[in-house]
């Protein structure tokens, strides 16, 4: 029996079999890179729940409990329930411009739906033009196939109008999920630009309140800001450990931890992050490192790297590099900069949100995005980066556009940079491998010369 989207039950069943297998395989590869810190295991459990277990359970397939529940197992089970709509409403978001603080203030849980699923990508491919980016295809794919509870349980999708692909996605995904397009000013320098966004955020409030039946108040907004701020504080603490010359944790695993933020309430993520920081402190005092001295320290930037599409970070580390930092929107970008409230009135807090989610944002959809180069230069110094890998997803024009500027800036700093283009499939792994391997050799030769 075919539903409106033309997808039948059998197709869905096969989809689930494949997508859960791919997700589980990537989790396994990431876990095997280096000894996974105990405190990082719950984050992996969240990804496993989201992409494997919950999918199987809800769709009536065989359910296996997460492999290695640890100290906070009970909390996690509670948290996993949050993805079930009767416990708490969730609001789907895309990109990094939807203020999570506002969603929490309305009593809902924000869930980032930018996905890296190869299986969902191939479904979305039928609904989206060939040259569009794979990320929007994956999101559309999940919308059509209805096999990701984290997606299906969202009462609403807030879709920022950012790049062309996301803009058209916002206009078309409405057919499978109630969607609110959120206007993002293409310019961000002047106060007038922030005013536009502020109006948008005010427009969003009643729409969120409608879903939850709860009011956004000054108190709840302050709580939301506080909650996300705590997560950002723990992240900034974590970055201190990440900067260490010898790595305390594999960079791919770090990216998985940051990816898990998409599917966890900020307070629980922060609590677990605190435990991870404690463990990093312990590893540091015991001198338990996961990298050796002559391994090149690499920064990844460019198009989003969303789970399970973690082939680039995996290849970097499997070929002997250290993924020391990332400037990507699924990674540090959303987490490094807290909202700073100067005026604690309701409007003051709203203004702080509008400012935080536009001005320091390093997304290349903005006309002038010199902040991104500035930020990367800063990260190169802080993380002692020796080379930059610039990831471009097929069809992702805005990031590709900024490559030349980045190459110029890196040339001046004498930091080698390569551009690797990739898509949501596993066919290009060997092409990526040879480039990444040669790049790592290039850095080693430079340092040994």
């Amino acid at each position: 029996m075919a539903d409106q989207s033309g997808i039948n039950e059998r197709q869905r069943e096969l989809f689930i079999r494949k997508s859960t297998r791919v997700a589980a395989a990537y989790l396994k590869r990431a876990k095997e890179l280096a000894e996974l810190p105990d405190a990082a295991k719950p984050f992996f459990d969240v990804l496993e729940n989201t992409y494997v277990n919950n999918v199987k359970e809800i769709t009536g397939l065989e359910y296996t409990s997460p492999s290695d529940f640890t100290r906070c197992g009970a909390e996690l089970l509670r948290m996993a329930d949050i993805q079930k709509p009767e416990e708490r409403k969730s609001i789907g978001t895309l990109c990094v411009m939807v203020p999570a603080e506002l969603v929490y203030a309305a009593g809902a849980m924000p869930v980032r739906l930018c996905s890296g699923s190869y299986t969902a990508y191939s479904i979305g491919d039928d609904y989206i033009p060939r040259d569009a980016c794979p990320l929007v295809k994956a999101v559309m794919g999940f919308g059509k196939i209805k096999a990701l509870p984290a997606f299906d349980n969202c009462s609403l999708l807030v879709a920022p109008v950012t790049c062309d692909c996301k803009k058209k996605l916002a206009g078309t995904i409405d057919s499978v999920k109630d969607t609110i397009p959120l206007h993002i000013p293409p310019l961000k320098k002047d106060d007038a630009d922030t005013e536009i966004f502020l109006k948008e955020l005010y427009r969003l409030i009643p729409l969120l309140e409608n879903v939850t039946g709860k009011q956004v108040t000054a108190k709840s907004l302050a709580e939301g800001i506080n909650m996300v701020g705590n997560a950002q504080y723990e992240m900034s603490e974590f970055l201190k450990y990440r900067r260490h010359d010898l790595s305390l944790m594999s960079g791919t695993q770090v990216m998985a931890v940051m990816n898990a933020y998409s599917y966890m309430p900020a307070n629980i993520w922060a609590e677990q992050m605190h435990r991870l920081n404690e463990e990093m402190k312990l590893r540091l005092s015991q001198g338990r490192f996961v990298s050796r001295k002559n391994q090149p320290r690499i920064l990844v930037t460019g198009s989003p790297i969303a789970f399970p599409n973690i082939k680039v970070p995996l290849l970097i580390e499997e070929m002997g590099g250290v993924l020391a930092a990332d400037e990507t929107c699924m990674g540090e970008r959303g987490l490094y900069d807290p909202v700073s409230v100067i005026d604690a009135s309701f409007d003051g807090m709203m203004r702080s949100l509008a400012s935080r989610y536009t001005k320091p944002c390093t997304c290349p959809v903005f006309v002038d995005n010199s902040q991104r180069i500035y930020r990367i230069k800063q990260m190169i110094k802080e993380h002692k980066i020796q080379g930059v890998i610039y990831h471009v997803l097929r069809g992702c024009l805005v990031y590709d556009y900024e490559y030349q500027l980045m190459e110029e800036a890196m040339g001046k700093m004498d930091i080698p940079i390569i551009r690797v283009e990739s898509d949501y499939n596993e066919e290009d792994v060997e092409q990526l491998r040879i480039r990444i391997e040669a790049f790592i050799e290039l850095i080693k030769m430079r340092t040994s010369a």
Binding site: I417, A438, S448
Partner: protein
């Protein structure tokens, strides 16, 4: 006694080997890759030992490169093609060559490597998932024109007016060439057109920002005088050809093998 060092370049079409001693090339061999990379590699080692009257223990270190580099059991270690080619140039480039750009045309890929004045790799670009601008392209066209890949260079140099081949895709170019043949166009003109089209395709891959130094061609493709001429015409610059171009990767791997034993290079 100074040891021998062996570089193995397991390419998509051929497996190439270079034996070196005292940083000089002693000998080279090439075998079709076939389906058993590992078996061919073993045969090559045995054949080289026999030819030069040495035993396996006289070879100090074996370095593999190329597509099959990770599966060659006879090798002590492996290195990417980019690094191997950059190293090979140290031995194979003519004396007057000032390090700058290396164009490598292989059987199934082509790459451009940018070197600094000390032959260190600065950057590189490779073709994406497509056989345009590779040896395969020449092979397919040669077949339609009832000639072989070793003849196409000389034939194309006899052309008086090269024709245009506009398709970059090998399959589309193939049908374009078939229609040219049907129109009784001289095959020498078609071949000249093919070389120009390949050169243009590869030049598009070049980075405008990388300037300085000379241009050197390596890889099996560099044996083709037609493509060499096409590059000079398109770039309006002298293009050098490496000594033993087909073995450049293997020579580079052998050179790294010798340095590896001198502990100067620990990757």
């Amino acid at each position: 006694m100074e040891k021998y060092y062996l570089g193995l370049d397991g390419g998509s079409t051929y497996l190439k080997a270079a034996l070196m001693k005292d940083k000089k090339v002693v000998g080279t061999v090439v075998y079709p890759t076939g389906i058993d990379n590992n078996g061919v590699a073993k045969k090559i080692v045995a054949a080289l030992c026999k030819k030069y009257g040495i035993s396996r223990t006289d070879i100090g270190y074996i370095m593999a490169t190329g597509y099959s580099r990770k599966i060659l059991e006879v090798a002590d270690d492996d290195i990417s093609e980019i690094t191997a080619h950059a190293y090979g140039v140290r031995v194979t480039a003519p004396k007057e060559y000032r390090p700058g750009m290396v164009i490598d045309i292989g059987g199934q890929d082509s790459k451009i490597i940018y070197l600094d004045a000390n032959y260190n790799v600065k950057n590189f670009t490779m073709n994406d998932k497509c056989a345009a601008g590779t040896g395969k392209f020449m092979e397919v066209i040669a077949q339609i024109l009832e000639t072989t890949i070793d003849q196409v260079g000389a034939l194309s140099l006899e052309s008086t007016s090269s024709c245009d081949i506009n398709s970059t895709c090998v399959v589309f170019a193939q049908s374009e060439v078939i229609s040219l043949v049907a129109r009784k166009v001289d095959r020498r003109d078609i071949l000249a057109g093919m070389h120009l089209s390949m050169a243009k395709r590869i030049i598009k891959m070049m980075k405008k920002s990388e300037k300085g130094g000379d241009i050197l061609m390596t890889g099996g493709g560099a044996l083709n005088t037609g493509i060499h001429r096409a590059f000079e015409e398109e770039m309006l610059k002298d293009v050098y050809v490496a000594k033993y171009p087909q073995f450049n990767g293997a020579v580079g791997a052998a050179l790294i093998a010798s340095e590896r034993n001198e502990v100067s290079l620990r990757l």
